[in-house]
Symmetry: C4
Subunit: 469 residues, 4 copies
């Protein structure tokens, strides 16, 4: 019945149309009128959009393998993350060449590159630092609170190694991403093109600045503390003895080691913050792609579209899903480290908040750092949940497809959207959705209530035991 | 609108009947007989319904953009919540003009309106009060129990601000709601039209009265307590020193400040109760719209209906879903504050129930307030879950569509009902369903069991520390 | 396209058949062969089944409204629960007349019936008993352990009232059940007819006997304890003072009151056990109906059946679902009381298991009662989960429908089975599935671990405080 | 079997192509080009695969009941687990004859077989050992920690009995498995055939070796401890008194009993490890079957396939699902024992990790055993979750079916994949998916935090109380 000769089918349809009752036709008329109303309401911007879209739409079909210059337009994820990755490279992560290049084809990874060497050297240095921390922790009584340095340094080390592996895959990932972007409906305006990049840059900037502010406050509070404890006569030595206690637990004081420790410290703090921001940025990128598709669907919401339109959209949706899957495979270990880290640190910091603060500098640093931690965790949760949310929005437009345009392709599209769970994940152990936020919050409250029982007040702020790290 | 000309349809059926196997025909006969039985059972009221419906149904198709008087009929949500919002306006919330007007088109929001000004003044006053509470709490040791005043005042303040923003959106929301109501199958009788309004008024009345009773009891108990503690010789001063301890913690006693504190107290208590009631009332409204649709489906349950009937119902269902989504976006912050507030207060009050009561007045007030709190939480949970429940009931009628009427439209309708999760939510972090009630109850029990360990009996009822608020 | 004139359609089909590739036909041949193999494997019993089924199948279509004697056949739920309800009536529950009658039409409820009067008298007596317990508990310090008597008596009272309301609905429910049973595919053999009844009787018998054994042990242990404590010289008085301490807490000893207390005790214990058994029995009945349908589907598994066959099965499945829903509405309060009761009592008894037992009689009674409690909870969980499990089994047979028989009706059937959650529930707050068992077990372990902290050993077995009830 | 005669198909397509809009044709062209690109990319290995597949594919259709020699090819689950079961038989489990035979038809179970007798003798011996443990535990104060021996021995006993029952079903299960394997698309290369077997053997080897290493370390640590405690002058006697304290709690020392105890110990330890490995191995087997099917689907991903191809794949998918169900029914008790055991032992060992270790030998043994335990639990969780994961991968290929090949069969296939939950389970109480891992981890952390409160340090390492077992 499906392979009806075209002629017969057309006759048939005409027949069916005539067979329709007058009432049904009236309904159609009403529906049509409502549709026209929508047209008129958004008529002004609609025409402009239509025209620009029409041109955009023709371009990719005209020259899919055309001249290279066509790719140099803005709005791609590769260009948006360029500077973000440059910052990462400065901090010994993601040693990929060509991140600021205009085309992802310029990206390359090589073991002999100076970036990679720097990265490897830093990893070695971090391993040494981690070893020293581990040695100090194991030689003291272990508690939920005392393992903080090894959790901190261990996860930084893990992220460094994962980032190195990710760097190798990055050129291929960006090429795939580029292909997906080429296939998507083009942005309606120059403004929309810039939006994803702007959001990414803003998140990066705000994150970096807050992280920098926190680090400054931590230095101020450490100086204050060093002055208070007053171990030696040299204030600088006091400061370094305090902040790099894991080094001087095994060796005597030396300025070189102190500087190395400080350098390690600054870099570790950056990387620890960067992993959350990286998950956010990838999420923003993926959500933006879904939004781009949804915007196109919204423009044609409730209108009669040809099955081929839906087929095209479905394939585009599918490619974004596959992209989402690929990115998830690549970064899910980072996501998992980021989430478990945040969970642990919030628990520890909330517990510490029960202590009496020895000075105002401490109090300011402590509460700033706690609020920054909780805010960052919320931000990374909500940004990563937005991928899932955007992927479900598509359904809203599919629900409004009028009766006559309802074809097997729309049906297939909507069933795929319903049954797929498109979201970033923590190694597939958990999916990043808004419901996760609540369960994480519930877990924190439960653990906190239980942990309070083991809390003893004044074991954190005496000079014998470093509060730092 | 939904009946094919009877003659044509009968011919059609006869044709189809001949093409069928005898077994199928037998089944049809059985089915038909069952259907007729249902007809006969509910024959008496059915005819009356039918007739009234027929008239109702004709009206909107006749004059969709007709004279304004046709809209003045009862049964709309706008009219049902009119007085509820009027009460809210008296208590400095939701400053919308025209809430008691007959048509939602009369609604308007303006920053220069006296209501808005009153609201803004009250918000400023509440901020001051909140600041005083915060100051007092932070200058005393912090515990799960001692932060109660800032949780209370903080959430009242938050709700006030959200309500102000909601007021701006309210006219548009009510217009959309009105449009949805115009499109729905009309009420079968005058009684049904009134039902939603009656339920809303009853919930409001009962809630207000219980809340008033609780406040009276709290005053009695505070007088009793003030008399017992006997700080100064002036009983009225004693009372105000007790109930507004956050004010007189920073300044010395003054009657003006005491009256301002009392006024603030009464208003805060009302608003704190009102946010639960508001969620309930919106839920009742949304559930009533789904019920209205379901009633129509029930009337034609198991009958042969034309595809256009199902198409119409599907579009109506869709519009209610969109309405539900819009309302959820508008009030989900209130819902979240309401739920987390109730969770916290039940935990605190259950913990306090372990204390020995100093007097009968205290015991009566305490247990009344605890039962009222639990009852209100249950009521808001169950009423808001009813939106989800009603939206699923539709499926029951779709399941009974006979074989011959099973068409792509019914299929699409039923798939949409299955896959959509229509429910109010707390900022999409959790959906308000009946299953939530159990998990909230489980959470309360778990937290309570853990919290009991930190409980010390006699720190709540000494005169040095106020028990109030 | 759906309303193709029959002639044209037939031609079309013939055409399509010819158009099939030889490869597809080969596949069909293979499929056919596999099907025949299944035939031959189960050939012996299959033929007998077939024949009996054929006769059964003809009967209901022949005389749907035939002579009354046709209904008198065995295998109905009404007949299976007859004696179970008779026992309940003896214990002042479910005062319905005609429970042992052959036809559910004989059932009737009347307020003037002697059963109803007995029931009402017993409820009054229970209220008095509950009041006495409540008075005693409130006059002593309240703990998780000490509220056991009011939880016990309160839930018994609640179940009594619910059972009275259920009794009013019972005749209508049984009539509906009877109609559903008439419509189902008949049992293949006399043995299958008897099975449900046999299981129900066995569950009732085993449950009653274990409950009786537990009560005997409790008496032995109470006598032992009374002898040990030796309050007065009269051993019988000692015994009653111990077991009915809530009565003699307010009045002095009197034999009449003691006997009333004992009577109340025996009856309460029975009713407390009976509510679990009642849930089990209803579950067995519902699961048996699904099994009956599934057996029919299994007989025709993998065969080419006409669409009307599937349509018929789908409608039967639907009616059982509706039946399940109606029963759930009627008994879900009992289910909820039963589950929360079991949860509470297991927690209390596990806590008590940490105590040192004063005598062997106590130890035997205690461990017997604990194991009986856990066993009963598991049994009620698993039996009630079996309703859900059986309702999902249907899907297994729908999955094996061969390609050529795959028609819209099968599709609709399978989609309905997938999307419906057919299960008994505790007031819709939770559904009784196998997954619930695990979460209940997890909850018990968690609560237990927390509760152990409040446990003090020797406050339960001293003579001042009764251990009983 | 799945290719329409090429000529006919091409004609068909041309016909269909003409009927389409130019836009659709353009889309097709794009799609076709992408498809060709994939072809070219994987062209080298593709051809080899194709050819080998073609030959493989012809074989089973040519001689489905052919000579026995055709079955003797590699790659079947039966052959892969042969040696694994042989090891099990040596340790008194799974007494099936013919496990190393080439054909599952050679498998047989008999009560009179020497394996079965050995197994029964060992079960009797284990019951005795369990009884002795139970006696010792009940005669000492019971705690979360002290019941470890009875949990250990009890679960070993349970697994032994379940394995005996499984042995009876094993021949039939393997026959069914063999049938399923015959119906699946053949392996593309000899390497792929070997892979499952290699993985299984490696898992078994690594597991056995680690378990052996742990046992050796336990002996070393026990010798160390026995020497330290120095109960008697005979070091061997000291050792056995320590490791078999449950025996010498009731009788005096005897070398025969000591050896029996040691033998029992070694065997129990093996069986305790084996149950996890068995679940892993069955999971690997089931996942491999799904992977085999998925590989075939991947080869034809995005191509135009005839409906019969999809029908065939769907039936194969169905048979693997049924196989998965059968295996789950057979081993789900083992799975449940394995998971609850691991949960309990991780909790106990984590608690013990808070103790101070008396010697280096203890510390090494303890941490090795803890890491091995956690690693094994993770491995069994992830391997068993892989069955579920692989069963979902199928969907990925179904999503890429091009528009023109989308037929009712593909639709049915994809709906079945979506709605089925194919996974091993713990008696259907929980399904083994990746999400389970997280909830198990969360449960361990919660329980641990609560349990720490009951922890007392020095009750585990004194000589009066054995640390062993």
């Amino acid at each position: 019945m499906k392979f009806l000769p075209a002629k017969l089918e057309r006759k048939f349809r005409r027949l069916k149309k005539h067979a329709r009752s007058p009432l049904m036709r009236k309904l159609d008329v009403m529906h049509e009128r409502a549709r026209q109303k929508v047209f008129q309401q958004s008529c002004d911007e609609y025409k402009d959009q239509k025209e620009s879209e029409f041109e955009c739409r023709k371009r990719p079909t005209k020259m899919p393998g055309g001249s290279r210059e066509t790719y140099l337009s803005d709005g791609t994820f590769h260009q948006a993350v360029g500077r973000v990755l440059l910052v990462a490279e400065f901090f010994a992560m993601m040693p990929v060449k060509g991140v600021t290049g205009k085309h992802p084809g310029d990206l390359s990874f090589s073991w002999r590159n100076v970036r990679t060497c720097f990265c490897l050297v830093f990893i070695t240095s971090s391993v040494a630092n981690f070893g020293l921390s581990l040695f100090k922790v194991l030689n003291n009584p272990i508690s939920f609170n005392s393992i903080k340095p090894i959790i901190f340094r261990g996860s930084v080390l893990l992220v460094l190694i994962v980032a190195l592996r990710l760097a190798q895959k990055w050129p291929a990932l960006m090429m795939y991403w580029h292909e997906v972007e080429q296939g998507l409906p083009q942005y309606p305006s120059q403004l929309a093109k810039w939006q994803m990049g702007r959001t990414i840059r803003m998140v990066m900037l705000v994150g970096m600045m807050l992280s920098f502010a926190e680090h400054l406050l931590s230095i101020v509070s450490a100086i204050n503390y060093a002055w208070y404890c007053n171990g030696t006569s040299d204030p600088i030595k006091n400061f370094f003895l305090l902040t790099n206690d894991e080094i001087f637990y095994v060796t005597s004081y030396s300025t070189t080691l102190a500087l190395w420790g400080k350098f390690q410290n600054v870099y570790s703090t950056f990387i620890w913050n960067y992993m959350d921001m990286f998950v956010m940025i990838v999420s923003i990128g993926l959500a933006a792609k879904f939004r781009q598709l949804n915007n196109d669907l919204r423009n044609f919401k409730g209108m009669h579209m040809a099955p081929s339109y839906w087929s095209e959209r479905r394939i585009q949706y599918r490619t974004i899903c596959i992209l989402c899957d690929k990115m998830d495979d690549a970064i899910s270990l980072i996501t998992m480290v980021s989430f478990s880290n945040n969970l642990y640190f919030i628990c520890v910091q909330l517990l510490r908040s029960l202590n009496t603060m020895p000075s105002v500098a401490h109090a300011v640093y402590f509460y700033f750092s706690l609020i920054f931690l909780i805010g960052r965790t919320l931000a990374v949760s909500l940004y990563s949940a937005s991928v899932h949310d955007e992927s479900r929005v598509t359904l809203r437009y599919l629900r409004c497809v009028p009766k006559d345009s309802w074809c097997p392709e729309v049906k297939r599209f909507s069933e795929e959207v319903i049954s797929d769970e498109v979201a970033l994940s923590g190694m597939k152990f958990f999916h990043l959705t808004r419901k996760l936020v609540l369960s994480v919050a519930g877990t924190i409250v439960t653990y906190e209530l239980v942990l309070i029982q083991f809390h003893e007040d004044n074991d954190l702020w005496d000079c014998k035991q470093s509060y730092y790290s």
